[in-house]
């Protein structure tokens, strides 16, 4: 039912943890189901040098956190702004319809992180 990419991220999640020298942090909680995702970014010269995450919730939330950090590292901030929910769903080779909100949560966390950057 879940893709190989999904299984890979769940069994061996990438970039797990709190990035101690992050200069952009986005944290989102799904108010309905309580899933949480915290995204930590270190941005230097408009490029995302490092990305890490913490997540609590159902497997798609954990997997989307892992996949998103993989997509972000090395990207420009402008390119990161353009990452859509569909891009993230494609990166995990799709999710069942009832689980797609997990990708939305991760993208919200990304937007929050990028928007909060100037305040840090």
């Amino acid at each position: 039912m879940y893709s190989e990419q999904f299984k890979r991220h769940l069994t061996n999640p990438r970039n797990v943890g709190k990035l101690t020298d992050a200069n952009a942090v986005g944290e989102e909680t799904n108010p309905v189901c309580g899933d949480r995702l915290v995204l930590y970014l270190r941005i230097t010269n408009e490029t995302i040098e490092a990305a890490q995450f913490l997540a609590y919730g159902c497997p798609p939330t954990l997997v989307c956190g892992s996949a998103l950090t993989e997509m972000l590292i090395g990207r420009s901030v402008d390119a990161a702004h353009n990452i859509s929910r569909k891009d993230l769903l494609d990166a995990v080779n799709g999710l069942p319809g009832r689980k797609q909100h997990a990708a939305g949560l991760a993208i919200e966390a990304l937007k929050t992180a990028l928007n909060n950057r100037s305040k840090m």
Partner: protein
Amino acid sequence: MNSSRRVYLDHSASTPVDSRVLAAMLPYLTSSFGNPSSVHLFGQEVRAAVDRARREVASLIGAHANEIIFVSGGTEANNLAIRGLCETHTSGKGHIITSTIEHPSVRGCCDNLEKQGWEVTRLPVNEAGILSVDDVRAALQPNTVLISVMLANNEIGTIQPVAEIGELVRTVRADNAQLRFHTDAVQAAGRLSLDVAGLGCDLLSLSAHKLYAPQGAGAVYVRRGVKLAPQNIGGHQERERRAGTESVPSIVAFGAAAKLAREELDQRAKHTRLLRDRFESGVSERIPDIVFNGDRERGLDHISNISFRFIEGEGLLISLDLQGVAVSTGSACSSGTLEPSPVILALGRNEELARGSIRFSFGKDNTEADVDYVLDVLPRVVETLRAMSPLNKSVSSSGFQVSS
């Protein structure tokens, strides 16, 4: 990364079909295909087989054969028992007493009757998941028609004081002749020695596929003299209580499984208790921050329900599944809504513990090697998920508080 080894620890959901049960039912999928209501020999052969099965199922619970109504499974059994009984109550809407940890089919029936104007009292359980007989006594009203309390819980395995409630019902009936007592014994049958006279129940629900028979058959025990309105109409089957041609192969399998369950009850209980104890002591040694749900002294021997702090049950379930280990969680997440296990919440646990609960249910064919494999896999999976969790203070200082 995906394991080739598979370990099934979800016997409270369904059990594998015993080879002896399969052998018993196979002729009724091939040569003996008649309709038991037919008067010719094809029909009479299968009628005899259904009657034999009825006697075996009755023996499992100390009932008479004519007190057994075959249905499609546990959910239908609970529907027929509860709704069927309440529909016979002609003098207005009555009162029902039940618990907060019943199976969804019992909860659903009571919710439905409440919408139709019935009064429903849902009694809480204590921290171990056990109902108080004093609470049942205190909840009784002159118009109480039904008490429905499960024999053993499906998620945490706690055994309810059903015989004591039965005794209470017997004494109360002197003043309230209409009072009936139903118990959902779907999880308890084949795990505990059952005797309907000792339990004092009027109605009891059973399911075949928890007893190493296939899905598709269940039964309601209806004590002689208790009236029940059929929920299926349009046929004379099952003493007018359940219209529809019987599922003969499933019923034959149920009978064979009931016989084996009775004969092997002690041996199976001893085996699963050994495995459960090995598992629980191994988990306690290897994994910190866990809470066992239920009551070891008053619980089914084959169920271990554990809340793993900082992580969510579905993540653990899928991660274990990827390692070949099948378990279950009482929490359900879909379409962005999450319902933490109502049973774990009813124990007074917080939402985090209710979301992080996993049921491991052992069966007669599990081995010590199965347990050791799970004890090898589980700590690693828990560690991986906890490393990701913002609730876990040891990996995060991002300001989340773990509620207590």
